[in-house]
């Protein structure tokens, strides 16, 4: 790739233990005392690079690890294995203090504006806090000026900034949380389902706002969503995740015109479309396996119609075809 990556994720694993304390791990089986440790494998081996200036969308269904990926990249949780880089420097093992300059450059927008804004802080306080924290030298009036300009830029009247979050509608609240992310002038924004909780007409407003901000401030986005229609509109590249692994990574237009991975194909065909009968979609057999006991081989093999013996045995590696990366034996062997 010609341009260097702004954010990189290399061979990332994240497991969450669910086994509890030592006593809870012990059990009797066949007359023997056994210690069992279990964990949810939220991410198992993801490699990903976000190029400066692009909007990389991560899509997948609930439980595929897309939000965990976002949180690991932001440094909100530490990876179990693998590394996260920013501007070619490793950041996942930094101390809190060393991480600070990166926290200003990387900001996050959360899904639910009802939960991500502190109900006991006014908009003014909410927006001032990160600015003051990251720029301790600024005077009060300078901070106030930034707050005014950033609230204006997200389409919220600055004279409302003495109000509390509950006095705003869902769409306006999401504007405020976008303003909070933009207030410290970041380079990279992770947006975790930023419009999923909003109504259709408000979704359009907020999506337009994000696109404006992206243009004016030259932002790089990692956009997490399950809504493929939004992806087609917003993303420059799309990464499709399934059960903690990456299935396919392709330029948006290409992914939507020629999806290659069988899971991507099923996912795209399942979107309810206007003026189409419901029965024209690829039916997946079975259900998503539990991330506690991942299937052997390709994690998708139990539901895939192209499965052969190799898929049940061997984990497919990501292979690059032109500008598309796909992890699938069937594609590699030319069966699809």
């Amino acid at each position: 790739m010609s341009q260097p990556a702004l954010v990189g994720v290399h061979d990332l694993y994240k497991e969450f233990p669910i086994h509890g304390g030592l006593l809870e791990q012990l059990s009797f089986e066949n007359g023997r005392l056994i210690r069992k440790r279990e964990s949810v494998k939220a991410i198992s081996g993801v490699d990903l690079e976000v190029i400066k200036g692009e909007s990389l969308c991560v899509v997948g269904e609930s439980g595929c690890g897309k939000s965990t990926l976002a949180r690991v990249i932001m440094g909100l949780i530490r990876p179990s294995q693998g590394e996260v880089t920013y501007d070619q420097k490793r950041i996942d093992d930094l101390s809190m203090g060393d991480m600070l300059p990166y926290r200003r450059k990387m900001q996050m927008i959360f899904q639910n504006p009802y939960a991500s804004l502190n109900p006991r802080m006014t908009v003014q306080q909410t927006l001032e806090e990160p600015i003051r924290f990251h720029n301790p030298d600024l005077s009060n009036s300078e901070i106030k000026d930034i707050v005014v300009s950033v609230t204006k830029s997200v389409g919220v009247d600055p004279s409302w900034s003495s109000r509390y979050p509950h006095e705003f509608s869902g769409g306006q609240r999401q504007r405020i949380s976008i303003a909070r992310a933009l207030a410290v002038d970041p380079e990279f924004i992770v947006a975790d389902e930023p419009i999923s909780a909003l109504d259709v007409s408000i979704q359009a407003q907020v999506l337009n706002l994000l696109m404006d901000a992206r243009e004016q401030r030259d932002l790089t986005f990692l956009f997490i969503t399950h809504d493929l229609a939004v992806v087609e509109h917003f993303g420059s590249r799309v990464a499709v995740m399934y059960l903690g692994t990456l299935c396919e990574l392709a330029p948006t237009r290409k992914l939507f015109s020629v999806p290659r991975h069988p899971y991507t194909q099923a996912l795209l065909s399942a979107i309810p479309k206007l003026n189409q009968d419901s029965s024209e979609y690829i039916k997946l057999k079975g259900e998503v396996p539990t991330p506690v006991n991942l299937p052997r081989g390709c994690v998708f093999h139990s539901r895939c119609i192209h499965t052969n013996e190799r898929c049940t045995r061997e984990v497919p590696e990501i292979k690059v075809y032109d500008d598309t990366s796909i992890a699938c034996h069937a594609v590699e062997e030319g069966r699809i």
Partner: protein, 308 residues
């Protein structure tokens, strides 16, 4: 009606033929759930139905006693809710919850009820129904749970089902399966369906007729095809236009300015007038009546004609 009451629904009228599938679309707060819940008299206090009638099978449901209403609920009209996690009781097995509806409405032996439950689980394509029936809701996935909810709704063979956002909590691939299942069941047993959703794609695939609601009122009603392709009301038109699918990727989306007014601040005249691109003086003063245009009935002074 008392003076300080908030009016959640105003002058809502619609009919549903036997076996027809009707969609109700609208954004949060438009009154679509209140409209559907009113049919089963499930309006929670202090809300009440202040006027009008709801006719089902020739009876006015608003005048029935509690007991008469129980005979209708779950027996003649069933309901499917959004979140199967909340609808199913976590401490009862699926079998118990399924047979409960049968025992409540029919004289039926335990064995027979159990068999009926197993049959209807099989009907919603749950594999190994005979063992699943003794499981608890947490042992099933989200899609499976919603299938169980549908099976419970259908077990008494009601002529009408009201589904409130039945697929909103589910992933797209599961949503497609559940929609498929609902369609199949409606077609095979001639069940009527009132489907409430905010997803225009779902409406387009599932229903024959659709109602668009805004701020407690029906703004447009007609054949789903016409609503989707040939919207007459500027709100419906804007809603369709705001879908990302309708714009070239990368371009700004068409947006409707502002948001839906809260119930206590509904503007005079047409409730949509502050957001409407076609607003005129009459819109600010007079509430529009319904006019019929082709298959659609629309409440707008400026209803869009065929060409626009």
């Amino acid at each position: 009606m008392r003076k300080e009451d908030l009016v959640a629904l105003r002058d809502v009228s619609f009919t549903l033929d036997k076996g027809e599938r009707l969609g109700i679309v609208g954004e949060s707060g438009a009154g679509k759930s209140v409209a559907a819940f009113s049919i089963l008299n499930l309006i929670s206090k202090p809300g009440y139905i202040s006027g009008g009638e709801i006719r089902f099978d020739g009876k006015d449901l608003t005048r029935l006693s509690l007991q008469e209403m129980s005979e209708i609920r779950g027996n003649r009209i069933s309901m499917i809710f959004q979140d199967p996690m909340m609808t199913l009781n976590p401490v009862l097995t699926i079998g118990t919850q399924m047979t409960e509806a049968l025992h409540a409405h029919q004289q039926i032996s335990k064995e027979e009820a159990r068999q009926r439950a197993i049959d209807s689980l099989a009907e919603v394509h749950i594999p190994s129904a005979a063992t699943r029936i003794d499981q608890y809701p947490h042992e099933l996935s989200g899609g499976m749970r919603q299938r169980v909810v549908i099976a419970i709704a259908l077990i008494t063979k009601p002529p009408l089902i009201i589904a409130d956002e039945p697929t909103t909590a589910l992933d797209v691939t599961i949503q497609a399966e559940i929609m498929d299942l609902l369609m199949e069941l409606c077609n095979s047993s001639g069940v009527g369906l009132i489907l409430i959703t905010h997803d225009l794609g779902v409406i387009s695939q599932m229903t024959e007729r659709a109602i668009v609601m805004y701020a407690g009122r029906i703004v447009e009603e007609g054949d789903t095809k016409d609503i989707i392709n040939n919207a007459r009301h500027p709100y419906t038109h804007g809603l369709m236009g705001a879908l990302p699918q309708k714009t070239t990727p990368g371009q700004r989306l068409n947006q409707i300015k502002g948001g839906m007014p809260p119930l206590n601040e509904i503007p005079k005249g047409c409730a949509f007038n502050p957001r409407c691109p076609l607003v005129d003086d009459i819109c600010r003063t007079t509430r529009p009546d319904y006019t019929t245009m082709g298959s659609t009935r629309v409440a707008c002074h400026k209803a869009l004609s065929e060409e626009s």
